[in-house]
Amino acid sequence: MTGLGVLAPNGHGLDEFERALREGCSGIRFYEKLRELKFGCQVGGAPQDVEEIKERYFSEEQRFSMKSTVISFGAIAAVDCWRDAGFELPSDASGEPDFDTGAIVGTGVAGIDLMCGYAGPTIDAGRARRMGSTIVEQVMCSGVSARIGGLLGLGGQVSTNSSACTTGTEAIAEAYWKIRAGRAKRMLAGGVEGESHYTWGSFDAMRVLATGKNDEPEKASRPMSASATGFVPGSGAGLLMLEDLESALARGARIYAEIMGADVNSGGQRQGGSMTAPNPFGVQRCIRAALDSAGVSGEEVDTINGHLTATMADPREVASWQAALGVTPERLPLINSTKSMIGHTLGAAGGIECVASVLELDRGFVHGSLNCEDLHPELEKYAASIPHVTRDVQPQTLAKASFGFGDVNACVIFRKWNSGKDN
């Protein structure tokens, strides 16, 4: 990893995001609009001051086709990641593309704010021909990667993946394999999710969102707690620049961490798995396969950034981690949920949480998991492994996994970069 970009509900940019993680700052807010619309869950997570950031980052011509939040969030994080990796933004569109660099930038629901809020009503009113030219490029699934590819002049594979809440982590695994195969020197990878009450409302309809804490937004996202009632919907973007080691060393790039291995699979919606619930055997197989590909034993894992959304699946997930790592409950590594601060950012979750994971390795900490003082009874035996406040430790190896609707799984094993050691 030679670059990171993050636009999260609790911070924009690495320093702000790190501070929020360390200090346990929640990005969950109450939304009056959700109350007016009679949502059960009236809180959510969304990046702040986005229009102001866009004005600083992009020209008027560029902003014209950034009306969808998924495009805006992705473009901002991509520019940050690109600069953080040590590259200048192309000054104009006349040069040759960077054929060595590509992007796999995933999203869960593309452009739903623009489609439901503008395009649909306009078309239904018989005014399709007056919508303008920018709808397709903003609502097509690959809109976010296409926009990023154009901004940065990328000449490698530029595509969008989508696998529900696994999306961001899957993108990183796919980019890792692309580089491992020698098909690219660098890949910008991660996930983005736009902010839209249409998306959030669809989950509210399923009764899977948090209720009962609308008047205490910062306490609404409660992964691993006995009082968890569902997840808090979120949005944002998290992108990582993956680069082959030879290229990174040759240009003297700062290296945050290495990806040691990864796996992506599906539980097949069998053995207890379904469209909305994971097959635990599939989950464990995915984690074990990632560890095997990394050449890392379960006992070598220092910390886990879990999927941990604040649903009834949390205890099962932790049990799966223990089983997959092959450790006793007392030896389970530190495990936390970034979602306790930012909510579940859906297609962006893996991207943002991988940025958090890499920051933890690079800057030496494991952030606290908020709102689980009342630990779920099934998790009591893991209590020593669940930090409520940030611990200033120096994790060397971190496992990150994401799981999604469709019974799909992805796991990536990161290791802190230490140029003085044999990595």
């Binding site: 008027e60 011509e61 014209f64 030219s133 490029e137």
Partner: protein, 82 residues
């Protein structure tokens, strides 16, 4: 409406779509929207819609296809206003 006044309004409408903003200052009747000003060809639709709104006219597809230069734009607008 005078030709120059229309031209100035056209410049104002096109400005948000121009990539080569430095070319806008010296633009004249022969300045080409795509080649000289770097306007994305897809955005010609948005520009024509903006002309329709600003001048309260309707520009059909055939007329819109004739807009290659700033001068073409002024001509099409003035035709439709007559």
């Amino acid at each position: 409406m005078e030709h120059q006044e229309t031209f100035d309004k056209v410049i104002g409408i096109i400005k948000p779509f121009v990539k080569n903003t430095d070319k806008l200052a010296g633009a004249d009747q022969n300045t080409r929207l795509l080649e000289d000003l770097g306007v994305n060809s897809a955005r010609l639709v948005d520009i024509v819609l903006a002309f329709e709104d600003e001048f309260d006219i309707a520009i059909d597809d055939e007329a819109a296809d004739r807009v290659r230069t700033l001068g073409d734009a002024v001509t099409v607008i003035q035709e439709q206003k007559q």
